[in-house]
Symmetry: C2
Subunit: 97 residues, 2 copies
DNA sequence: TAGATAATTAGATGATAATCTAAATATATG
DNA sequence: CATATATTTAGATTATCATCTAATTATCTA
């Protein structure tokens, strides 16, 4: 009945508009930090901060490519979040499609 | 392409664990403020604050019943939120089931 | 109509969170 | 190996948010 930390970190991750924008960008293609940065006005440090929160929630994954780090949307966790959202609103004993 | 205030207020509304708990309680049945309060430790003022944020997002509706106010989950906005979430993660040109 | 009950609003406080600049780390390359 | 480039980390600042107590508003009932 209690909410897990994992669940809480997911809601925290999507609570910020800039992070939602990052997710929306990453759903189209994987990108380096610099490429993500080109969509925003704030500093690289701020972007790093947002990415770390998305990573903590496991909504994104990173891999190294030379000096760059390539961020990708983690679709399975995105799916999981959608499921959690459905459960938030659908009655316990309702059909699950 | 820009996110609406309505959309932002939805994500703000579900960002707090107590408000998610309120929604989870209301999905089962409509309740007066006092009845909702019985599930929590915080003050009535704090509950009022949370309810006002849920109202602003239109995730809940209120009606008067004598001295009490009865809160209900607004299912259509809940559905809308689910749709917004799906769009956040699904590529623009993917099938919509 | 006075007092009781239900809920909200006002105003203050402490905790989180978003952002910045500067410094640090890691990798690539001349 | 020294320097440039990409990104993260540290530490500070400011803004937002959750919470509280006290006061207010609205309704009911004796």
């Amino acid at each position: 009945m209690n909410e897990s930390n994992q669940q809480a970190s997911l809601f925290t991750a999507i609570a910020d508009v800039q992070r939602r924008k990052i997710l929306a960008i990453l759903k189209e293609q994987e990108l380096s930090v610099a490429d993500i940065k080109s969509h925003f006005d704030f500093s690289g440090a701020t972007l790093s901060h947002h990415l770390s929160i998305l990573k903590k929630a496991e909504l994104v994954r990173v891999r190294r490519q030379g000096q760059q780090r390539i961020y990708t949307l983690n679709l399975s966790v995105a799916e999981e979040l959608l499921l959690i959202m459905k459960q938030l609103f659908n009655r316990e004993n309702d059909e699950i499609e």
